[in-house]
């Protein structure tokens, strides 16, 4: 079937199998490889993107379900390495990533969270990220980054202590 998705503001149209998962459409047809696949049971959140502005796990959405809709991936947040989105800036400033594999999904989950709750508590952040696994950071700096992004306090170098 033919699927047309507006990805990061550009239309991507392709003929794909009916069973094509959105994540594969993004990685193969749209050639946007930042969105990763970390599991097969909708558990890990590495494939999180925004579908019509809300976070979804793109491994559990058919490309067909996103037909004629808007998808934002992490590649669509910033205009370049020097002009990062506040959430990306916060992740950098707080050392919220190590191997980077969970990062695109974690960033998109955060963008969605902050759109729904502009100033979450630490507990709300932890709860909102329960569907995104990270094996490197222990989540400590990710949580700090989300809180910093909410404050948009993201220009500093990593704070001392802890």
């Amino acid at each position: 079937m033919k699927v047309t998705v507006t990805v990061n503001g550009s239309q991507v149209a392709a003929e794909v199998e009916d069973r094509t998962l959105l994540v594969h459409f993004l990685r193969e047809q749209a050639d946007l490889t930042a969105t990763n696949i970390g599991c097969d049971t909708s558990s890990c959140g590495a494939c999180t993107v925004l579908l019509d502005g809300q976070s979804v796990k793109s491994c559990t959405v058919l490309a067909a379900q996103a037909d004629e809709r808007e998808v934002t991936t992490v590649e669509g947040l910033a205009s370049g390495p020097d002009e990062m989105h506040p959430v990306q800036r916060a992740f950098r400033a707080e050392h919220a990533l190590q191997c980077g594999f969970c990062t695109p999904g974690m960033v998109m989950a955060t963008v969605s969270l902050l759109a729904e709750n502009a100033s979450p508590t630490e507990e709300e952040v932890r709860s909102a990220l329960e569907g995104n696994l990270c094996r490197c950071t222990g989540y400590h700096n990710i949580v700090r980054a989300v809180l910093a992004a909410a404050r948009d306090d993201t220009t500093a170098t990593p704070a001392a202590g802890r």
Partner: protein, 767 residues
């Protein structure tokens, strides 16, 4: 002021945050544009004879290029000769002889997930469809699951070996070890099997072209991968290029090259087409290696005044179906059995058994967490038995500062330490006395939610294979930029940042002008890689030494350019210029000096091999709240000192500690790879394997402590695994402490709600 020890943001991150990393599955270079997909057909049965494989239906499926089985592996060189199967644990490589592991199962499968065949298809969707069409006839055999079944030997995995015990080691029990002890306690405990779950699973791509094999693989060591590939495929190492692109976590399970990646590399050459392979998570959970999996008998004896006099640790290591590095892990456990304590008599012994489960291997800590978990449980049992505070018992027995370097009865010589100081820092930082008071109040009131305070003091060994060394090559170019070629292999640790900091600190070439390259054997033929918390103290020191060498080269060139004596030249590392002492006007930049340096330029190659292991140490305190009606434990606070010597990058060192703590807490409270009696994995998806999430953890409280080592010029020890080593026993001890007043003295990890409730129920029933 030196940049070392300051809080520097990572240079890796802008790319990872805006474009994402380039992991194996993201590679889009022309060589792989036409790559076909590899999909593995794996055994669904734990133990069986293969009586037939029918690939005919699969070969007819759409998009199929080839279906390959062990019968097709006939173009490989013969495996190494039979070493007698003697089980030499000094060589942490797979055992040969009767224990040899085929790349694809030949006539028998020994675990669920063992590769039996591969299908090669144009795309990955076809691969999954086609794999289901490969028909394998299995004649089931009884499965060996768990240490007891393996030791009983009723069913042998390797009949030709004559036993399920692959390796033994350590000291036999001496009947007099516990003589003179007022108190002697013994208990069997479990250090459960874990899945490493790097968020990127295993992946490889390979191309055979013009007599050269190129392999892109998600590995912690490109150079070791090349060495293994050359041996297995019978190729000259010069005909192989291995590239480690971005790697999405390893945690020890990506040390070397995975066996399935060897199959992919072989198949690319065999079918003459570039291939790409990325496993699914469900495959990963059964076919990547597992970690831990020890059953331990701990025996501790001492005096009622709190002095520990004797300790014995007996280990049965479950190696899984094939003795890979699992055969070696107990060696490291025995090495560190004594922990940070000055105990007069310590013994450790181990047996490694094979079972019909996934092979075990390194996982964050690799043998040392098991040692710490054992002795920290033993110390708490001893403290409880003599009615003393566990913090006090630890303080009495920790190796005192005046005994360093300290020769452990288990062999290693601990370099430097301030063990009691670390303990006291944590007690003060956590407010230990107030926590105990609050615990007492809750006990007094009989609250449903009880507090538990758990301690773990540890010492561990990092860069245990320091004699293997590490390489670095540093080049300063005519434009004043520097390039570092490192044999170390970052997969999240931030080497690119730290190595650039080391160059800036020594040469004054700012970090932004330093490029770090790793993980490409064409550019860096010799190297060892990243594991065992070795990178900074070996790879980092190699970079540092290369910088020192380049600095001396530059001094000579600058002296020549400025017509001054070398002794009068000084490097202003703030500005990155060389000048004549007392005459700042007479100066030369790095670009000028490099341009003048002649054909050899400014370059130094170092193979740093004089290193020795180092011994980081610390104390963790976990505060948990246990719901005594349901058994559920929640971690409220986690306070730690992790002293890894001089800290070069505080930001990155903290990040390593955070991640390590989370994995340790996960072992204590949640994670466990389970099998049923027939060897079927019960936790083969991330729905069932309870990887820890943000919602189960608090923010951590890290306290600073830096006791430099004299072993290397940076004063640095390793920090990659310390968090995990300290956190698991602290969290477990906390859970047990929370319910100890109800009569509970031990709970095996993970202390899940069901287990904690069962322990409470049992204790109540027996009172």
């Amino acid at each position: 002021m030196s940049i070392l020890g300051t809080r520097v943001m990572r240079t890796e991150d802008p790319r990872l945050l805006t474009l994402g990393g380039t992991y194996v599955d993201d590679l889009r270079m022309p060589e792989l544009a036409e790559a076909a997909r590899v999909t593995f057909v794996r055994s669904p049965i734990a133990h069986a004879l293969i009586t037939g494989i029918d690939v005919s239906a699969a070969q007819e499926a759409p998009g199929v290029i080839a279906v390959l089985t062990a019968a097709d592996l006939n173009d490989l060189p013969p495996p190494p000769p039979d070493d007698g199967g003697g089980g030499n644990e000094a060589a942490p490589l797979p055992l040969g002889g009767p224990w040899a592991e085929p790349l694809l199962a030949v006539d028998r499968v020994r675990y669920v997930g063992e590769p039996v065949a591969i299908v090669i298809t144009d795309d990955r969707y076809q691969g999954e469809d086609t794999a289901e069409l490969v028909s394998v006839d299995y004649e089931p055999l009884p499965a060996v699951v768990g240490a007891d079944a393996a030791l009983a030997g009723g069913t042998l995995l390797f009949p030709a070996a004559g036993s399920n015990v692959a390796v033994t080691g350590g000291t036999p029990a001496d009947g007099t070890t516990f003589d003179g002890c007022d108190v002697v306690l013994q208990r069997t405990i479990v250090n459960q099997r874990l899945a490493p779950v790097p968020l990127e699973g295993r992946a490889a791509a390979a191309e055979w072209a013009d007599g050269k094999l190129t392999v892109w693989v998600s590995t912690q060591n490109a150079q070791i991968s090349r060495f293994v590939l050359a041996g297995v495929l019978g190729l000259d190492p010069g005909a192989i290029r291995v590239v480690a692109p971005d790697v999405g976590g390893g945690f020890g399970a990506k040390v070397g090259i995975d066996r399935d990646a060897l199959v992919v590399a072989w198949a690319a050459k065999h079918v003459g087409r570039p291939l790409s392979w990325t496993e699914t998570r469900s495959e990963n959970l059964v076919a990547m290696t597992h970690g831990r999996a020890q059953r331990q008998v701990i025996k501790i004896g001492g005096a009622r005044d709190g002095r520990i006099l004797a300790y014995r640790l007996e280990i049965v290591q479950d190696a899984g179906a094939y003795p890979r590095m699992g055969g070696f892990l107990p060696f490291l456990t025995r090495l560190m059995a004594a922990g940070p304590y000055d105990i007069p008599r310590v013994e450790a012994a181990s047996s490694v058994v094979v079972t019909n489960t996934t092979p075990t291997f390194a996982y964050r800590g690799a043998g040392r967490p098991e040692a710490t978990a054992a002795i920290e449980r033993a110390v708490d049992l001893f403290a409880a038995e003599i009615g003393r505070d566990p913090a006090e018992v630890r303080r009495i027995n920790l190796v005192p500062p005046d005994k360093f370097p300290y020769s452990s009865p288990c062999g290693p010589v601990y370099d430097t330490g301030a063990y009691a100081e670390a303990l006291d820092k944590v007690l003060v930082g956590a407010g230990y006395q107030e926590l105990r008071a609050e615990q007492a109040r809750r006990r007094e009131r009989g609250d449903v939610l009880q507090l538990g305070i758990g301690l773990a003091s540890y010492v561990e060994i990092t860069a245990a294979d320091a004699e293997g060394g590490e390489t670095a090559r540093l080049v300063v170019d005519g434009d004043g930029t520097a390039t570092v070629y490192t044999g170390s292999s970052a997969h999240g640790q931030g080497h690119h940042t730290t190595w650039a900091m080391l160059v800036e600190a020594e040469l004054g070439i700012e970090m932004a002008k330093v490029t770090v390259i790793h993980g490409d054997t064409d550019l860096i033929p010799m190297g060892v890689g990243t594991y065992a918390s070795r990178s900074l103290q070996l790879g980092g020191v190699a970079v540092h030494k290369a910088a020192v060498e380049v600095k001396e080269q530059a001094r000579r060139v600058a002296a020549d350019m400025l017509e001054a004596s070398e002794a009068d030249l000084e490097l202003d590392t703030e500005r990155g210029v060389w000048q004549v002492r007392g005459d700042p006007a007479a100066s030369r930049t790095w670009a000028e000096i490099a341009g003048h340096a002649g054909d050899d330029g400014l370059a130094a190659a170092v193979n740093y091999t004089e290193g020795q292991p180092t011994f980081p140490f610390g104390t963790h305190l976990a505060l948990v709240e246990v719901d005594t009606e349901t058994g559920k434990a929640a971690l409220l606070r986690h306070v730690t000192v992790d002293d890894a010597g001089t800290v070069v990058s505080p930001v990155l060192a903290e990040g390593q500690r955070h991640g390590g703590i989370a994995q340790g807490v996960a072992q204590a409270l949640l994670e466990e790879m389970l099998y049923d009696a027939d060897g079927n994995p019960l936790t083969s998806t991330l729905v069932d394997y309870a990887a820890i999430t943000a919602a189960e953890l608090p923010s951590f409280e890290l306290l600073r402590s830096e006791t430099p080592t004299h072993v290397n010029p940076l004063g640095a020890k390793g920090i990659g695994e310390a968090g995990t080593i300290g956190a698991a026993p602290a969290a477990l001890n906390a859970v047990i402490d929370a319910v100890s007043h109800l009569g509970v003295s031990h709970i095996d990890m993970p202390a899940t709600p069901a287990r904690v409730w069962a322990a409470i129920s049992e204790a109540r029933g027996s009172q």
